[in-house]
């Protein structure tokens, strides 16, 4: 899938000129940066959009679990000399459909999901040890490898992104309905179990895409954090989705730009921007409500 350019070389520290136009020109001077921005943009749009439903349905932990199970698939594929994305997709889709089919029966089963995902990580460790030269591959899967993305990866990411967005638009209304009240939606003729499976399948593809940018371990930063911030700003679904997409884009773009001028990895900056924004929003809310109490 990816030509693994050692991350330290790819993001060789360059000093910014602090002239925005010159710095932007410098950013896009390198092909790997252009690819990173292209793939990152697609992934951010998809992650920001599906994140709203992940937060609304309370399935953040399921998203986390999917990425870990995907790790076992990706490493397994490498052992079999297949592209890791094939294993990643196969395992996240399989696990997603299973979680979706179990539906409400899995709600609150954090312990069960946790046991399965820790075993999946264990399997991943085994597969890595079976594969020689494992450390770069494993590192990329766990923490992201966006600076190593090739132009064919960009095309594949765009195709997958388009499929997930079209699927999400197709199920939008009934998915929203069954996410808010499954009983009412079911009585109105909404096929709630089919939707639950379809949603987890779409999420599986989105997770597989996002793994390229932030890796298995940091998936929350792109799929959950932007949406979790967005719903604090608006409880109108289309507005919350738009804010989530904008935040995911901002974290990705700024994360990439900062990483380009620093010796540190992109994933660190993306997750830090996401976390800092979340922290600021919660702090501002706490301050505001304290003021309200005083008045």
């Amino acid at each position: 899938m990816v030509e693994l350019i050692p991350i330290a070389t790819a993001a060789a520290p360059t000093d910014p000129s602090w002239n925005p136009l010159d710095d932007l020109a410098l950013l896009f001077h390198y092909e790997f940066m252009v690819h990173a921005f292209e793939a990152g943009t697609v992934v951010a749009i998809v992650a920001g959009a599906i994140g709203y439903f992940v937060v609304l349905r309370g399935s953040a932990f399921a998203a986390h679990a999917l990425s870990h199970i995907g790790f076992a698939g990706a490493t397994g594929a490498v052992v079999l000399a297949l592209s890791p994305i094939v294993g990643l997709l196969a395992f996240t889709l399989g696990a997603g459909v299973a979680i979706g089919a179990l539906g409400n029966r899995l709600r609150g089963r954090d312990v069960t999901i946790g046991i399965v995902l820790s075993w999946a990580l264990g399997l991943g460790v085994l597969f890595i040890s079976l594969y020689r030269g494992y450390s770069t591959e494993a590192y990329a899967l766990l923490f992201g490898q966006i600076l190593g993305i090739t132009s064919s990866d960009v095309v594949a990411t765009m195709a997958a992104g388009l499929i997930t967005m079209v699927a999400l638009v197709a199920v939008y209304r009934p998915l929203l309905f069954s996410s808010v009240d499954e009983d009412v939606a079911g009585a109105k003729g909404v096929p709630v179990t089919v939707l639950s499976i379809a949603f987890m399948a779409i999420l599986a593809v989105a997770v597989s895409e996002a793994v390229q940018v932030v890796g298995v371990l940091l998936i929350f930063a792109l799929i959950v954090t932007p949406a979790a911030i967005a719903v604090r700003f608006s409880s109108r679904p289309p507005v919350a989705i738009a804010i989530g997409i904008l935040l995911a884009l901002a974290f990705t773009w700024f994360g990439l730009a900062i990483a380009f001028f620093s010796p540190h990895p992109v994933s660190f900056f993306i997750t830090t921007l996401a976390f800092a924004t979340y922290l600021l929003v919660r702090l501002a809310e706490a301050l505001r409500s304290r003021q309200r109490v005083r008045v």
Binding site: V169, L176, V180, V184, G186, A187, G189, R232, S234
Partner: protein, 268 residues
């Protein structure tokens, strides 16, 4: 009124309900006249929600026939409004009450809302007005009080202009004052729109001055009649062939004693 009268909203003949081969109740024969208000009463696990699931077409009868608004029960019948049993919405649920009510109009359709926004907004506004929820319909659903959420659930059920309203314990999470207000509201809306209402309740007292019929479900049997005829020690004892006592306190409230000892059933 004969059982075959087209004015009947719901007609059951020899109806039995259950899961698999296990019957929860059987041999139910009753007819609910259109435009009437019926309270469904009985101990926990007697199969009250099961009856609603049959009418909604979410569960098939294991015997007998059921006729709902002149046809066989079918899932997604737009002429039925439904308020499910359940606790309050998750406080973090980030959607406005108005958006939820609007989903009652077109939430079952695929895709995104492209056309008909004006009509949907008008229908949503009318339903919100009908339950007097204008003041908080734009606030986050999960942050509203139990009574406010119940009104928006009712608005969601009314928004499609149904002719039958099914409500599963809409009063159980409300305080006494809110219970009275919601029952009054349901009764007024129903009279105005000639709605047939079937409402599951734990306690008949807040409903007594509004209902036309009581459908009692206990010990595998259903019995229907006027509240004054059914909720008496004599008739309940006779129907269930066991000593049942109906007590009346100083405020005129009724308490049924003797039907509670029921094998509990997970499906309620």
């Amino acid at each position: 009124m004969s059982v075959n009268d087209p004015a009947n909203a719901i007609v059951a003949r020899g109806l039995a309900a259950g899961y698999g081969s296990h019957a929860i109740w059987s041999d139910a024969n009753f007819s609910i006249p259109g435009g009437s208000f019926t309270a469904v009463l009985g101990p926990n696990g007697a199969g009250k929600s099961t009856l609603i699931r049959l009418i909604l077409g979410l569960l098939h009868p294991i015997a007998g026939t059921l006729d709902v608004l002149g046809e066989a029960p079918r899932r997604g019948n737009p002429r039925i409004g439904y308020v499910p049993q359940g606790s309050a919405f998750d406080p973090e649920l980030s959607i406005r009450g108005r958006d939820f009510v609007g989903l009652g109009v077109d939430g079952h359709r695929w895709g995104v809302r492209l056309s008909g926004r004006a009509q949907i907004a008008a229908a949503t506004d009318a339903a919100i007005r009908a339950v007097s929820a204008e003041a908080y319909a734009n606030r986050q659903l999960g942050r509203l009080s139990g009574g406010e959420q119940q009104r928006l659930l009712l608005a969601q059920a009314l928004v499609g202009q149904p002719s039958l309203l099914l409500m599963d314990e809409p009063l159980s999470h409300l305080d006494v004052r809110n219970q009275g207000a919601i029952v009054q509201l349901i009764s007024e809306v129903a009279r105005k729109r000639n709605l047939t209402v079937m409402l599951i309740a734990h306690d008949v007292n807040p409903l007594l001055s509004h209902i036309d019929h009581v459908l009692y479900i206990a010990q595998g049997k259903l019995a229907m009649g006027k509240p004054a005829d059914i909720i008496t020690s004599e008739s309940l004892s006779e129907i269930y062939s066991s000593p049942v006592e109906v007590l009346r306190d100083r405020l005129g409230r009724l308490f049924v004693v003797g039907l509670e000892e029921e094998v509990s059933h997970p499906h309620g």
